[in-house]
Symmetry: C2
Subunit: 302 residues, 2 copies
Amino acid sequence: MALLVVGSVAFDDITTPQGRAPRVLGGSGTYFALAASFFTPVRLVAVVGDDFTAEDEAVLTDRGVDTRGLEHAFGKSFFWAGEYEADPNLRHTLKTELNVFENFDPKLPAEYHDSEVLFLGNIAPELQSQVRDQLGARAKLVGGDTMNYWITGRPDAVRHFLSRLHVLSINDSEAHLLTGESNLYRAARAILAQGPAAVIIKRGEHGVTLYSASQTFGVPAYPLEDVIDPTGAGDAFAGGVFGYLAQQNRWDDAALRRAVVYGSVMGSFTCERFGVERLRSLNEGEIAARYREFVALTRFDE
Amino acid sequence: MALLVVGSVAFDDITTPQGRAPRVLGGSGTYFALAASFFTPVRLVAVVGDDFTAEDEAVLTDRGVDTRGLEHAFGKSFFWAGEYEADPNLRHTLKTELNVFENFDPKLPAEYHDSEVLFLGNIAPELQSQVRDQLGARAKLVGGDTMNYWITGRPDAVRHFLSRLHVLSINDSEAHLLTGESNLYRAARAILAQGPAAVIIKRGEHGVTLYSASQTFGVPAYPLEDVIDPTGAGDAFAGGVFGYLAQQNRWDDAALRRAVVYGSVMGSFTCERFGVERLRSLNEGEIAARYREFVALTRFDE
């Protein structure tokens, strides 16, 4: 089942304690699409500037990502520069240049209108709702992300977006901010009360927890000895989750649990190299092997 | 198999966002002993002052804890006052009065000399090593805890203590401080290199990870909607871990995993009421039920 993702395609300048990657391909849509491409056909809606080359696009198309929804606009692509502390949860944004992303008005190509699984990456909540409207009832499963900037600045638009979402995938600080609840379990309950059938709360090196009316599921993070670059790990996580759900064409409790583990697998690989490097070199065998490592990491006798 | 614990027995004045408990029975030895008592016979070595009443001692003996090693000294018992923020990981010490604990010189009653499982709670590292010496080769399994105060102030004594320990149970900030490693996996490897066969790193609401040469095992925290009082949760965790290991009289990989889950069960119950209240009202059926909840919380299809 085809998975449609709307998000950002950007260039990043990344500094971590392990080194620096100046001007590498990034953006939430890129990480999501590459990760999801290992599970299902992926369609990407995003905007890039004239600095985005055929070589950049080939990073996506080499993995089979459908880029007919990638709009080429005049100007420069979204640019982000950031630096991580030794604790990879601590990140400082050095520069954000929205560029062509500032006037992004996502339009779905006619060929995308039969998409049944949709993921609305971290863009303005009004745009998220607008894309969701374009698909209407055809969208069987709608997932989404948001961030502190929108939660604080556009609370009503975020609330409206949440009310039309099946699965929200956010990190713990966003969950706290969104609900005013310091306790994660209570924050999750408050989010579920706003509409989503499930909420997945990402906690970086502390793992992930999935909450729905019928279940709570927790999985620890994969123990990485070296986190080279955590950029995009959350987006690759979401790509793994929704890629797997679209592949399976079911999202019952058991499928959601496996999806969260596949998401964790994809997020952990992403941290092993700068930018999208590791997602580009990855293969299905490595994904299956790491899934089994998650089984070994978490199993205990009943 | 009898489990001997050396630790503190104290009075605590606890303030949390949920309320206040003025002068309640506490201390690492108390929480550990009560939690472990659900699994195996427990022997306690600690010191109390003349403010410690027969009623206080009955809290321990009612759960079958052997208090022949509880020394009654002239003066007041160890007293601690602290306050927690809405994030239960953020705790402020308002007052620490060592009192009789300042000159604690742990002596093992003759009846304790056949103890085969030993847990050295958070006391001065020289005292931990001294107790360990008193048991000598009879101690088949030696576990221990330490804290930032000793790691910073007595690094050599902590190092010596570590070299003679089988299982270290500490929290994440202590693991970072002990090794200078910001990455938990590397911190764990560095600790294992210093002697222990296994290290259990407690991460509060983020769960627990167990590391040894042969395995890594992670378990999320139990999702508690209301954390009434986190005091003693880490000690009750350790009590569950070593109580279970002593009960089983084995500490292979699979037993260690189950022990970590039983520890998580005991830690989670402890947070549900102020002080040791919940440990006092607890029963075996509730423990078994929560263990099954941990199974449900963590299982996914292979």
